[in-house]
Amino acid sequence: MSDVTQLIHQYLRHNKKFPHVFCPGCGHGIALGSLIRAVHGLSLSKDEVVVVAGIGCSGRIAVYVDFNTVHTTHGRALTFATGIKMASPKLKVICIMGDGDALAIGGNHLIHAARRNIGIAALVLNNNIYGMTGGQTSPTTPGGARTATSPYGALEKPFDLVDLARAAGANYVARGTVFQAHLLDRLISSAIERPGFNLVEVLTPCHTQYGRKNKFKNPVDMYQALKHAAVPREAWEHFSEAERKERIPVGVFVERDEPGLEERYRVMQAALLARPKAREALPEPNGHDPASTKAKLEGVES
């Protein structure tokens, strides 16, 4: 088991200040470790990996890793990532978002990235709260939970990210937790390796903003709860309604094998480039081919 941390240290930026900015017990650090182990396990070079992050606590992950890193705007990480992937398909693009980031302000980008099946590994670090801005309700805050903007309990129904991504057409959808780090390593590794849009929801506790307001004494309490709640998808499917209460299925939910947008684009482009007259100055209206007209014209011209 040794050398895990030493390996991680090799991928951290040595000119950045550590410890990182995350609060004590924040799961984001564990998720970052999983990401590094997944990249290392796939033998990817640091140069071919791009980490694109949104805004929020999760967004700060990008600054610590020695890859190509882009810290974007709130909710829009997937749009930047889409541009990078289409411009340079050889790069492995990993997009890190939070729950508010990916599902509220960036919800539309998420469903469209999934629909396009663009070749991106999307990691949504779900801590059920807006952490960085002071603990406000997010689209995954459980019903009844107390937050800075739901002091009397959250009224809205939370998003099920797995269902959402599945319906939108993602190639691969999985859910893991930072408590089961080995499973998380495998899920993230698959998401990076596979073609198309691959999403991993990572359940990660936020004690500072969520736990304290919702009767968790300390970070350890939250990890205990996570340990209890997370059950493998296969087992969960056989649970009764009562057993499912307070439980969250983890594992792989969708495994499709459709080519990514960048690959489909490449195929279309290759076909177009193989055609003669691909480099006309301006497109002829109505898809008209000047060569065939010329022959006809010669017959009618007086």
Partner: protein, 203 residues
């Protein structure tokens, strides 16, 4: 062959209903005058939420010198393919401008001085393709415009069409040209003094 040495701001407005091919007609006419004849041409069009059946219009400014203002201000030639278009744009005409109408669709011409042909009927009955109506108009305008050359127009029309509808449209063009020749009379008499024209034998 007709040649023009100087032409300053000759303004054409083509108008009618959406779906009549007015904009396409403007593009072909403008393209031919600009590229084939070497004039300065601007073609603009009214954009609107106009589906088939709505109003449609395009303006062309033709000149031998660079054009500053690209829209028509006082129209030399108004082509109205619907009553509504004729009513709307007649007031934008120059005092000695020429009005060409679709004589079946414009039942109440605003003036006694106009040139009319049943373009749609000609396309439908003589060509068998009502959609080729705008090619009939193009043929007629080619006869009418003293600076337009038939071969160049035909070539531009051909270059803008998909191969499968080419023959019918070229026939429609020739029909429009011959009908205009028969019914409109010789162009120089129509355009008294608009531009410096020199007739050369061999047209």
């Amino acid at each position: 062959m007709k040649r023009f040495t100087a032409l300053e701001r000759f303004e054409i407005r083509l108008s009618g209903l959406g779906g009549q091919g007015v904009i396409t007609l403007g593009k072909v006419l403008g393209g031919a005058l600009a590229l084939g004849h070497g004039f300065h041409v601007t073609q603009t069009q009214s954009y609107g939420p106009e589906a088939r059946g709505g109003a449609s219009r395009t303006d062309l400014v033709v000149s031998t010198v660079p054009i500053s203002y690209p829209k028509a201000e006082s129209v030399d030639l108004l082509v109205a393919l619907s009553q509504e278009a004729c009513n709307t744009y007649y007031r934008n005409m120059k005092p000695r401008g020429i009005l060409v109408i679709e004589s079946d669709l414009v039942r109440q011409p605003p003036s006694n001085f106009y040139l009319g042909l049943p373009f749609t009927r000609l396309a439908r009955d003589k060509i068998g393709v009502p959609q080729a109506m705008n090619s009939v108009v193009l043929g007629a305008l080619t006869w009418l415009l003293p600076f337009a050359r038939q071969a160049v127009m035909k070539k531009a029309l051909a270059a803008s069409l998909p191969a499968k509808v080419l023959d019918k449209n070229l026939k429609a063009f020739s029909l429009g040209y011959s009908q205009a020749k028969k019914h409109f009379g010789p162009p120089p008499a129509l355009w008294d003094g608009n531009g410096d024209e020199t007739e050369e034998p061999g047209d």
